[in-house]
């Protein structure tokens, strides 16, 4: 089992799948920032001064970081960023569920706010968190080849604890 999940090809497949998913999610929202801002507002966490800024910045962030993951550049930092992003989403969804809010995650475009949608998004984000974390861990074992590897070497020092794999 560990052989499969620790395999170079599995890592490649996983980062392409996750990168593609984040690009898709970003593209779904980038054209409709107002609807995305409405989705963010349903969480009742951010003040009005920040909601639109987040609605404008998050889709390009997802496309940018997802693209790096997809094309295999800056894999570890990109996976680290997505772990952080997923962790934030999970905390937001948990607080919404705890407060009984009907939220619209807005992850893949806007929809109808509901409690069911919050649970669904929570499950999806938990799976993504595990996936991103696994890419982050595995990427340390497989230094990237060629020019990209040389370019990002200073940013991705090998984790000594991972070298036994």
């Amino acid at each position: 089992m560990t052989r499969v999940f620790g395999n170079r090809w599995f890592l490649r497949l996983l980062r392409i799948a996750i990168g593609g998913l984040f690009i898709y999610a970003g593209l779904q929202k980038i054209g409709t920032p107002l609807q995305f801002a409405d989705s963010i507002a349903t969480f009742k966490v951010l003040p009005p001064e920040l909601i639109n800024l987040v609605a404008l910045a998050l889709p390009p962030f997802e496309i940018l970081v997802g693209g790096l993951l997809l094309f295999g550049a800056f894999v570890r930092p990109a996976a680290f960023a997505l772990v952080g992003l997923d962790a934030v989403f999970i905390v937001l969804l948990l607080q919404a569920i705890a407060r009984g809010l009907e939220v619209d995650c807005g992850c893949f475009g806007s929809g109808e706010p509901s409690r069911w949608a919050a649970w669904l998004s929570l499950g999806r984000n938990l799976m993504l968190l595990v996936g991103c974390w696994w890419v982050y861990r595995l990427a340390a074992n497989f230094p990237l080849p060629s020019a990209i590897g040389k370019l990002i070497k200073p940013l991705t020092p090998k984790d000594p604890h991972m070298s036994r794999h």
């Binding site: 107002l34 009005p48 909601i51 639109n52 998050l58 390009p60 570890r76 020092p157």
Partner: protein, 193 residues
């Protein structure tokens, strides 16, 4: 920069900061090229619709209004509608074509399927949609109107109803069950294809 100058964690946080700042700059730049740039301060749906309704009211009040005379032809103008219509009442309203039916959902959902004869008046694009329908609507502000949205939990139909009332429409009701109840009952659908 050498590999010893940055610990992995610091490098990751540096990357995160650069990516987030770049994304914000890209987002703000793209926003400038939009037809209607998103303002930096968020306004909720109700506030946006109220602002749109106020703009429409003031635009209406400015010129002389030859079409604002109430329509006295027919009995529709004197009919009183309940605040909310049940499934049976709404079904009869649609079948007998007793007035106008407005779909307050986003336009894309209207295109995919709507109540037969319903006109799209989306809450999220109320100002433009209303302006396009203005001549037809303002001929008779006492005509019965029913508004619906996705389901009983959506707010759009009530918000559109309030806006229409603010614009002087006297008989506006809401079909609370919305599209969900209509389709669940197996009622006919219409698409814009």
């Amino acid at each position: 920069m050498t590999s010893t100058s940055l610990t992995p964690l610091r490098a990751n946080f540096l990357f995160l900061w650069i990516a987030a700042t770049s994304a914000l700059c890209i987002g703000l730049l793209l926003n400038q090229f939009r037809e209607e740039p998103l303002p930096l301060l968020y306004q909720n749906r109700e506030a946006r619709l109220q602002a749109a309704t106020q703009r429409l009211s003031s635009a209406e009040a400015a010129p002389a209004m030859p079409s604002r005379m109430p329509d006295t032809a027919g009995e529709k103008g004197t009919q009183t509608l309940p605040e909310f219509l049940s499934m049976e009442e709404f079904s009869a309203f649609v079948e007998n074509k007793r007035g106008l039916v407005f779909d307050a959902r986003p336009e894309i959902f209207h295109r995919l399927g709507h109540v037969p004869g319903a006109i799209s008046l989306p809450r999220d694009d109320f100002e433009n949609a209303y302006t396009a329908l203005k001549d037809r609507l303002e001929a008779n502000k006492a005509q019965p109107i029913v508004v619906y949205c996705s389901s009983s939990s959506c707010e759009d139909s009530k918000l559109v109803r309030d806006s229409l009332r603010s614009l002087g429409y006297t008989q506006v009701a809401v079909f609370n069950g919305g599209w969900a109840e209509w389709t669940a009952a197996g009622k006919p659908e219409e698409t814009n294809s």
